[in-house]
Subunit: 389 residues, 2 copies
Amino acid sequence: MPIKTILWMTFACGLCYGQPADDSKPATTNVMGAEYPRVHADRGVTFRIKAPDAKKVQVRLGQDYDMVRAEDGTWSATIPPQVPGFHYYYLVIDGVQVNDPASEAFYGVGRESSGIEIPETGVDYYDLKDVPHGEVRQFRYYSKVTGTWRRAFVYTPPDYDVNLKARYPVLYLQHGGGEDERGWIVQGRADIILDNLIAAKKAVPMIVVMDKGYAVAAGEKPYEYKQGEPFDMRRLSSLPAFEKVVIDDLIPAIDRRYRTLTDRDHRAMAGLSMGGGQAYDIVLRHPDTFAYAGGFSGVPGGNGGPAIDTKTDFGGVLDRADAFNKRMKLVWFGIGTAEPASMAKGMKGFREAITAAGIRHVYFESEGTSHEWLTWRRDLADFAPRLFR
Amino acid sequence: MPIKTILWMTFACGLCYGQPADDSKPATTNVMGAEYPRVHADRGVTFRIKAPDAKKVQVRLGQDYDMVRAEDGTWSATIPPQVPGFHYYYLVIDGVQVNDPASEAFYGVGRESSGIEIPETGVDYYDLKDVPHGEVRQFRYYSKVTGTWRRAFVYTPPDYDVNLKARYPVLYLQHGGGEDERGWIVQGRADIILDNLIAAKKAVPMIVVMDKGYAVAAGEKPYEYKQGEPFDMRRLSSLPAFEKVVIDDLIPAIDRRYRTLTDRDHRAMAGLSMGGGQAYDIVLRHPDTFAYAGGFSGVPGGNGGPAIDTKTDFGGVLDRADAFNKRMKLVWFGIGTAEPASMAKGMKGFREAITAAGIRHVYFESEGTSHEWLTWRRDLADFAPRLFR
């Protein structure tokens, strides 16, 4: 018979609208088949949603933009040109911030959020290309520190399953506050960036481990929010427990399961925002374990906190610059030039302290980007090629 | 120094509420730290959201339940006991269906949706346990049929990276209409089910490949929705192209990349709903490629369509029962006893036709469940142990 393709599921579609007669295209971050939001050639974006009974609808992307109601109950707004890269956004319907049903969901800012990718002209290092692709693996391991099974994602390079005798260096790569272990793949495209760098021989093949940067020690009470209090990411991240997880549980589990190079010269740690602070805290307290450190819009001391004291912090390891410079192969940190003053202040304080102490380092600026994923993609693309050489 | 854990990100939390003084617990499907929705011992669920300016707020879970506004602008509702397992749900705010910001997001029904897991007492085959865990790998392959890179998820069993000489049978496992290649892991817990079955020696170690069940042939125009028309999953799934992708691109790519057993006796295909129909269509048209077929709430002819004609459909392969029964190792299909009549009708027609034709088969009923993930978890737990024996 001709194949019988029968009505499996026919459902009314709230995402379906006619196409405008212009050069705009559906955002690549839309769910399959959704025509809106649409990105224009000038990087402006048109959003649309059907909400006949709503009194007020807005788009929240950096700021709030009012949407305008058409007679059929469809609300729409075209917002000004946006910076390229990935941005979280929301709709606000009668005062409630919700996701756009037309967008994929991205875990960020402590919840599933809508996101939009604005194309960056002339740049393809984070585009999926016809190069050998590595894999991203869901890896479960038991943590004695937390008394729970934990999940990390592990990027293995394209030749991992071909060169079965080869062993690889490892980059531990952390997400930011309010994100989790999914962020670097889903929002950051870390696997695609590594595939492209490795194919171009700009980076050596490496394993990348992305864990969840939150941990509560077994027997300790998890952080509980109280009604009306601000959400304190610092208490959720619980660095002392996370540090123990990384050192005592994660690294040994990774070295058991994967064909890693297990000496310090083949182990790096980096992270973004909160994860950058965590990476530096952990590397500088365990210099026998890591030889490379990266802080992407995040450094020890935090973005709003006091600068570090290089004489006394981290057991004074930064106070012996000659020894430190000999031993630590890379101290890298970067920030977007459009980041808020509070973020820039923390980075500046760290940079000045490190410079005054005579610590060799690389400082990187992402032109025109804020505290967002394009900054961190650029960071990774500059950082990864410097590793394990 | 003591570790400086500074205010990385402090943001007001819309998910933060006080805990009720009862035995309810936050749903395991909530985002980290969200106290609501809470599941009660009787499987009732309390939902809550802050929406001071909304006029009407409802929970949509199978039906619509009105939420009640408290003085502080918080709306809440406790809904009656729910069937165990995973259910999609939404909030309806002033008439607009949106996700609950307190829920993880799950791609289903053609969009990212909220979901809630209702615990099933005395059942642990889909719980994460202290057994050896396989991996789930993101696998990219190029399809000549579609002219695009495609993504599948591949479950490799716990000993895959230990027994480096071993080769494994492969189950191709498809999602339903409106879902995608993420469904079987995120909603279905297929990896956990397989880990547990393999640890208990109830199933043989196998590779499971989960691809996206939609495909548009290169050069063909993708299905575009027209405003006001119903969403036609049939046109999106585009079976002829998907069938070619599976046979010409996916299977060869999997057999190249993974250590598979490549004969028909070690290859199965199954799927749920739309994916069940696809699996049967593909297996019955390619009996030299597959020896096992599974339809979970989905069979050829579809749930609303006419029954198959066993004399003429699929080149008449079902009309020669003796030869078919000798060659095809398993014909398995199942349905939930609480599924809608339209679903039950398609399954009944298929079952009657298969029975009348003398085709040996296994028919399975999931007691009390509808067209939903607990039905399909149970299906997989009954189906997988019968494979590759």
